[in-house]
Every structure is written in structure tokens, then in C-alpha cells.
Symmetry: C2
Subunit: 210 residues, 2 copies
Amino acid sequence: MTKLLIYEDNPQLREGLTMLINGSEGFEVLACFKNCNNVIEEVGAWKPDVILMDIDMPGINGIEGLKKIRQVNDEVKVLMLTVFDDNKNVFQAISSGANGYVLKKTPPTKLLEYIKEAQSGGAPMTASIATQVLKMFSSMNNEKGEDYNLSDREKQVLQFLVEGYSYKMIANEMFIAIDTVRSHIKKIYEKLHVNSKSEAVAKAFKDKLV
Amino acid sequence: MTKLLIYEDNPQLREGLTMLINGSEGFEVLACFKNCNNVIEEVGAWKPDVILMDIDMPGINGIEGLKKIRQVNDEVKVLMLTVFDDNKNVFQAISSGANGYVLKKTPPTKLLEYIKEAQSGGAPMTASIATQVLKMFSSMNNEKGEDYNLSDREKQVLQFLVEGYSYKMIANEMFIAIDTVRSHIKKIYEKLHVNSKSEAVAKAFKDKLV
DNA sequence: TAAAGGATAACATGTTTATGCGGTTGCATT
DNA sequence: AATGCAACCGCATAAACATGTTATCCTTTA
């Protein structure tokens, strides 16, 4: 038996969802709420398996509600409901710990499937949203920081630079002479095509060498 | 009619998949291949809707095959098949443009659903993999660093520092005296709680001030 | 076996940075 | 009128840094 809580400000939709779900084998709506004002207490009290969370609610919106839930509970599955497949919200929701993201226009039988899928650890999403997620994923990373082929020792030194160590401190940490540190750093500068500590640090961040 | 290509080095599995899919209403396997050596030409010639791509193949593996495909075709849906839900591969595949990622042990009916879902723009994934994807997403966040309330001028100076400018260059760029640059930087250090240029640069990156 | 390259180290020289102190101006709030 | 604050400027000093050259020891590679 899959136990649910519903957060939805629109009374018609709230009723509709409840009837649909309660009328289906293996599902039970424990309670409905029209806002997230007491979401933490409610989730704590009812211990649902899955929560249907409308995104567009007055007052505390669904994303903030989700964040509140995640402050105290990482287990319960949260399925976001929305009318728009708006880019910003999708990103916000997913990185705040949503387990799925479906449009309200999803047909009933599909919605029940999605709920089951969320419960079993899946990430159900409407196709248009899934596409967005994949796009975000592939766009944000592919700049595969070049390989400047720093030696092991040089990588260590660069690491210390990034952490704000002075030459003297690095020498101490690595049990080598300060002039050796200089040598390494000179080499690093050549390889990274920079000529100052802070440029090297910046480049290390940009190219994800650290 | 959903038209497919299959890339899979294991003969049994290749046959099995082909029979399953060809025996199902609305699906057709155009061709099977045991490696990705000519993947670009093959995809160009057959123009499939969906490609099933095994990840673990000798020679050119599935990820590399996927990358080759994406060099010339962003439209065809590629569904990755694997025995392991290995973290590194998942990330690689998704950021290389995979449309889905399913385990080989997926039951036949489920697999057909996944193919349909991929074709219609979804992102079908086995539950364990979906979980990983969401984890990655939420871990690589988001939270903007603190607000150190730097003044406008201080922000400008910090920006120049990050770009590797020396005090002298900053003075030139901003049409102010070098001693004024010093003053600003002193103030910046106080506000960021650091005491060197490279620490400030590092902090700027970490806290996304730039 | 010779060449290449990484890790180590010293010395010298000049530049840049960090930090202290002091100050003026102009604008907005009190 | 007084206060606070951002932006501006100057001087002085010590520490840290950048650069060059040279050299030894060792391992990997051609």
C-alpha cells in the first residue's frame, strides 16, 4: 500500500487527485493540505511514502516546501506537480532533492505509474522535462579541462597554492627546500601558461584541476 | 513503427534482443552490429529512431560510440545498456548525450516501454540509476556563498585580481593610483577573512563571487 | 647506453605584495 | 552640524614572489 500526502492549493484538483488515488488499488491518500505552512509537522506525523507537491502555491511554494521537508527527511519521495515545464523551476526542484517532476496534465493512469516509480527509487518525469534535465547535464560539464600533464609533485604543489599556502609553508608541508618549491612552481607556470600565483589558482579552478 | 539499431558484442543477447523487438507490435530492428567501428556510416545509412548501445564492448566502447554518433546526429535517441550501474559510466554517458540508461536485466516488457519513452523525448532509466543522477545533480549545487557585502568598487578590484592583474595593471585599468588599489584590496581581505591575493582568488571561485 | 625528464637544491636579483600609518573629498543619514 | 562611509591618495618597510642560472641524483625511455 502506497501512502501519500497531497499539497495543492486548488480545491478541484485536490479533490480530483484524492478521488483518483483512493479509487485505485494499492494507493491511499492519508491527507491533503492547501499550503506548506506546517509541512514538517505533517510529514513527521503521517509518515507517507510519497508526497505530491504542487509547485505553484501562494505563500510557501512547492520548492520551499520541498526544502523544508528535506531538512528533516531524506527518505520520503517527493513528486513535483506543475503546469509549466519551466526551466528554472526544474533545476531548482531537482537540486533541492525532488524525486520526480510531472506536469499536471499527465493522464491518470500515467500518474499512478509515476507514483509507483518514484516510490521504488526511480525518477519519473514528463518527457519534456527529462529532456531539459539531460540538456542541463550535458551542457554544464563537457568542457573537459585540458590536461596540462603536471607531474605528481607539481599537482601537489598546485594544490597547496590553491589552499593559500606560501612557499615557505609548502616547503614545510612537503619536507623540501623552499628553492625546490620555487622550481616546481616555475614549471607549473610554464605548463599552465601563467606567471603568477593567483593566475595559477584561477586556472586551477576554471579547468577543474582541483 | 519504431526503427532500431542494436550495438551489442554478445551474440546471444544480440539475438535475444532482436527477436524480442521484432516480435513486438510497432517495433523493427533494422540491423545489429557487434562493434562501433563504422557507427557513423551505419547510423547515417539506416536512419533509426532509437539505438540500443551496449556500454561494455571491446574496442570502441559504448560511450565512445555514443560520442561518435553525437558528432553527426543529435536527433536519434540512444539508450545505453549495461550490466553495472557504475557511477562513472552513468555520468559519462549522460553528459555525452545519452537519452536513457537501463540495466540489461530489465524485463522485456519494461524494455519496450523504455524504448517508446526514449523515442518520445523521455529519459528512461532504471531506478537505481535515476537515483544516482538526482544525487549528482543535487550534490553539484547551487547554494550561493555568503554575502561579504563588498562595495561596488571592491567587487571590480576582486574581479581584476581573479583575472590575474597586478596592482599596477588594476590601477591603470581603473584610472586610480596604485595606493588606492592597495586600500581596496586591504579592505577586501578584511571582508573575506584572507590575507593574500591567491586566497582571495580561491575564495572568489569557491563562493561564486565571480 | 645515451638521452630525457622529474625531483631535489643553491644563489642572485629585481619586482610585487602585505601591512602599517597617515590623509582629503563628497555624499547620505542622523 | 556631526557622523559614517566609500573612494581616493601618499609614504615606508618587510616579506613574499618571479626569474634566471647551475647542478646533482635518479628513473624511464628511445
